[in-house]
């Protein structure tokens, strides 16, 4: 049968993927035709060259379309109580105009997802996260005077990240930006459009996220790209973002941990203690989901721990197993990267207790290398690192520097 649609609207994109609000602009730049599926949207994996894109994050400024993120409006007289019941942190301390990084747990104390909460007003919040949560949020809000709305498609969003991102906004006369501290947000004007600008991101560096109506998306894009030449603004794809994420120490669901809502095997979900996020639990606030289970867990040794590791030499330890004294298998790597900026070979790994807790010496990863169709096995020493590999002081300097 002849195809009816002789002229497909987005010829580059695989069947079944949807064009997002910035699609026309990104498609025009996507010389690699590299697309991936992000929540059903066509999201660029790499536009021309991943190294250029990565170095633009670290040295210039970059635009990445984050519209496919799941976004939920939680509103009403009990909105604060609902959000506080959802997440492990004490959200009563979050003031309007502020953003918080949060995690939330099921009744067994296993992490469901992480994300960011924006407090728009006393009684209005927005939750941004990777995985759909509508059914869960409705369960959490049952019996409370609050409404949950999926606003994922009512908002387009861009990540503007990199050392020159503030300079770019300055060039666009976005004055409110000067006072924004990390995790602040405010309504600003870009050209003739009003957007919400938050000082948030996933690169460990200076950066912003812009939230707008989908119908304003292209105009805002054009203004940013039009002004960005001086700052070396570059549109980037997911692969470069992923490199920066690993350097900056952010966890990725489905890669570093599995949501307890999707895990089938009972030992697959992870607790905040295992993820090293126990500092995010406010036991002293009113009841929140999983609190009783978390209290019990707080008194016992975690089964395993997600750690950051520095690996020897330069070959990324992707998918590697971790050994103690080169013999005993004690864990596995989830994310790995040769960090061009830190000049370090870095990885995240799960280590079974007591490794990563009381036993942290003599750890090795088993790296497989292919050299002209021959596989070679190499045992490489690794050691646990305490801090994220890349956090620049630019990230928090206010007013932000002009680079």
């Amino acid at each position: 049968m002849a195809r009816k649609n002789a002229k497909a609207p987005h010829p580059q994109v695989a069947v079944g993927l949807e064009a997002g609000p910035f699609h026309e602009r990104i498609a025009a730049l996507n010389s690699q035709y590299g697309w991936m599926d992000w929540m059903g949207f066509a999201s660029p994996s790499v536009l021309d060259n991943v190294e250029f894109e990565y170095f633009a994050i670290r040295n210039q400024s970059t635009l990445f379309d984050i519209s496919p993120m799941c976004k939920y409006a939680i509103e009403g007289a009990d909105a604060e109580a609902v959000v506080n019941r959802l997440v492990t942190r004490d959200i009563r301390k979050l003031k309007p105009g502020r953003v918080a990084y949060v995690i939330w747990c099921d009744e067994d104390g296993n992490v469901i997802d992480d994300g960011t909460v924006f407090r728009l007003a006393e009684d209005r919040f927005r939750l941004c996260c990777q995985e759909p949560q509508l059914a869960w949020l409705e369960d959490v809000a049952w019996g409370f005077d609050a409404t949950i709305r999926d606003v994922s498609r009512e908002m387009a969003a861009l990540a503007l990240q990199g050392p020159t991102s503030a300079a770019l906004l300055r060039a666009l006369a976005v004055k409110e930006m000067e006072q924004l501290k990390p995790f602040d947000f405010a309504a600003v004007r870009i050209g003739r459009k009003v957007v919400e600008l938050s000082r948030t991101g996933f690169t460990g560096d200076l950066g912003y996220e812009l939230w707008m109506k989908p119908q304003d998306a292209v105009a805002v894009w054009d203004d940013l790209v039009g002004a960005g030449g001086q700052q070396g603004l570059r549109v980037i794809g997911y692969q470069a973002v992923e490199m920066a994420r690993i350097e900056a120490g952010f966890l990725l669901p489905k890669t570093d941990f599995l949501s307890s809502r999707t895990a089938l095997r009972t030992d697959r979900p992870s607790t905040p203690f295992e993820l090293g996020l126990e500092r995010m639990i406010a036991f002293d606030k009113p009841h929140f989901n999983g609190r009783r289970a978390l209290l019990r867990l707080a008194g016992s040794t975690p089964r395993r721990r997600l750690v950051q590791m520095e690996v020897g030499k330069d070959k990324p330890a992707a998918n590697a197993l971790v050994y103690h004294r080169k013999k005993k298998e004690v864990g596995m790597v989830t994310s790995a990267l040769w960090s061009p900026t830190c000049k370090q070979n870095i990885a995240y790994a799960w280590l079974d207790a007591p490794y990563g807790e009381t036993e942290s010496g003599d750890l090795w990863v088993e790296i497989y290398l292919q050299k002209e169709i021959r596989w070679q096995r190499r045992m490489e020493r690794c050691r646990i690192a305490e801090k994220p590999f890349f956090v620049h002081q630019r990230r928090s300097a206010t007013p932000p520097g002009d680079y």
Binding site: E107, W136, D139
Partner: protein, 494 residues
């Protein structure tokens, strides 16, 4: 808990009274708070008793309370066009010979199987998640009892236990009045018809004590209620009627007391609630103290009441076509066959009034009152309960009664009606359900009232369930009240 400490018991139904009596005997100071103006719960209202013909309270429970009630077994009468069939502990009269013999054979087999299961009921349900030693011992005990059945009967039990009563009847005795009585016993109070899976199990659970026979306390039901009430007071307990609890108070994840509808705050270190689980957890405690999954399971618990009650004040005793009148020791079951019971359920399932409701009735000759429980009258009737539909129901019941008691129309002086919806409001039970929540295979044992809430102790420390919604379920039995009190005394935590 320390001697002399106050414990609040919500609800003065028989389970609340039994729990309070046991706590008082152990030196605690129970305060029973009852919303209604009378004690006894569903069997307590002398003006309009919902529960008219109690099943027996477990003898162990009465013994633990130190009270003595003489129960007289009742005879079940099933009127048919050919005459009245009578079923008592000793004999079956008026039925076709072949069917009566098959019925007796089936009943004695079921009685043995039921008594093998009885060990599961007067103690907390087995805990499969964290099988402690006690739980294992309990299970092992039941296992031993089951082995005592012998290979053939055990195999038979496993074959039928999840099946439906209709198939069993069809295989073993054939349809007719005896089959109808069995079908009613297996489904009474439930939103299940004889063909619904698991109805053999619900029958067996009823038969686990006193062979599932109804009993009448010598001197009437109020004697039983009165003795339960005295057991509380005699040991220093207190009972307040017209005292509806509005909120269970919590501080630092511990119960601290309750607040009454008038605003009065009554502090206490523990609260046992015989109100329905959803009422206790969602209305009185509140979802803010509970995890979302727990709340969801509680909300989604099936609790669709399908029994309406209608009382007739009569000018004279009603008489069967043969001319005899039922006595106060008779229970009248009005259902032609198991198939008719299923047909009535079919209508109710779709929110309609059945063409021919299934009924059980009791004639109180002292007060000349005929009390009828009409089964398969849906709580949420299609189009809602209105004056018109209430009248239609009453006419339907009167028409059926006139078939059984010729000339009934001219006997009735006055009638009062409560639908399951009225009971829901009056007794604060979701759906007005007989068992405070459907008693079926996925809401039994460690899944009663729902997964994660089965061991009486609730997630907030100091809060316990002790009513029909908890294991092993409703009917007048006293088991949930007994088990709930034991859980508190043992300091069980979730």
């Amino acid at each position: 808990m320390k001697r002399g400490e106050r414990v609040i018991v919500i609800g003065a139904g028989h389970n609340g009274l039994i729990a309070a009596g046991l706590l008082a005997k152990r030196g605690l100071k129970p305060l029973v708070l009852e919303a209604r103006g009378h004690v006894g719960g569903m069997m307590g209202d002398p003006d309009f008793r919902l529960s008219t013909m109690p099943f027996a309270v477990w003898p162990q429970v009465l013994r633990a309370l130190g009270i003595d009630v003489a129960f007289e077994p009742m005879t079940t009468l099933v009127p048919t066009p050919q005459g009245v069939v009578g079923i008592s502990t000793e004999q079956v009269v008026g039925a076709e010979d072949g069917q009566a013999a098959a019925y007796r054979a089936l009943m004695s087999r079921l009685e043995r199987q039921a008594s093998a299961l009885s060990g599961l009921l007067l103690k907390p349900p087995p805990n499969l998640a964290s099988s402690g030693f006690g739980d294992l011992l309990g299970l092992a005990g039941t296992g031993l009892k089951l082995r005592g059945l012998g290979k053939t009967e055990l195999r038979d039990l496993l074959r039928i236990v999840l099946s439906n009563i209709h198939d069993l009847i069809e295989d073993e005795i054939g349809d007719g009045p005896l089959a109808a009585a069995l079908a009613v016993d297996a489904t009474l109070g439930s939103a299940m018809g004889p063909r619904s899976p698991g109805t053999v199990l619900t029958l067996l659970l009823r038969m686990a004590r006193n062979r599932g026979m109804r009993v009448m306390p010598k001197g009437g039901i109020d004697i039983l209620t009165g003795k339960l009430e005295n057991a509380v007071m005699a040991c220093g307990g207190e009972i307040r009627t017209n005292a509806p609890v509005e909120r269970i108070l919590v501080e630092g994840d511990r119960v601290t007391g309750v607040q009454l509808a008038g605003g009065e705050i009554v502090p206490s270190a523990a609260v046992l609630s015989s109100a329905a689980p959803a009422t206790t957890l969602l209305d009185l405690l509140g979802p803010q103290h509970l995890d979302a999954e727990f709340v969801r399971r509680c909300r989604k618990t099936a609790s669709t009441g399908m029994v309406a009650r209608i009382d007739f004040d009569l000018k004279d005793a009603p008489r069967f076509s043969g001319g005899t009148a039922p006595s106060g020791k008779d229970r009248i079951v009005i259902a032609e066959s198991a198939a008719a019971v299923e047909a009535a359920f079919n209508a109710a399932k779709y929110g309609e009034l059945p063409k021919q409701p299934v009924m059980e009735a009791h004639y109180d000759d002292r007060n000349r009152r005929l009390s009828v429980s009409a089964q398969f009258i849906p709580c949420s009737l299609k189009g809602g309960w209105k004056e018109e539909s209430r009248r239609a129901l009453q006419r339907l019941v009167e028409r059926e009664l006139a078939r059984v008691f010729p000339g009934f129309g001219s006997l009735a002086a006055a009638a009062r009606l409560m639908t399951a919806q009225d009971m829901a409001a009056a007794y604060r039970v979701p759906g007005g359900h007989w068992h405070h929540g459907e008693l079926r295979i996925d809401q039994l044992l460690m899944l009663r009232p729902f997964d994660g809430a089965a061991h009486y102790a609730m997630p907030v420390e100091g809060l316990y369930l002790c009513g029909a919604g908890a294991h092993p379920g409703g009917d007048i039995s006293g088991a949930p009240g007994f088990n709930g009190a034991q859980a508190l005394l043992a300091g069980r935590r979730r």
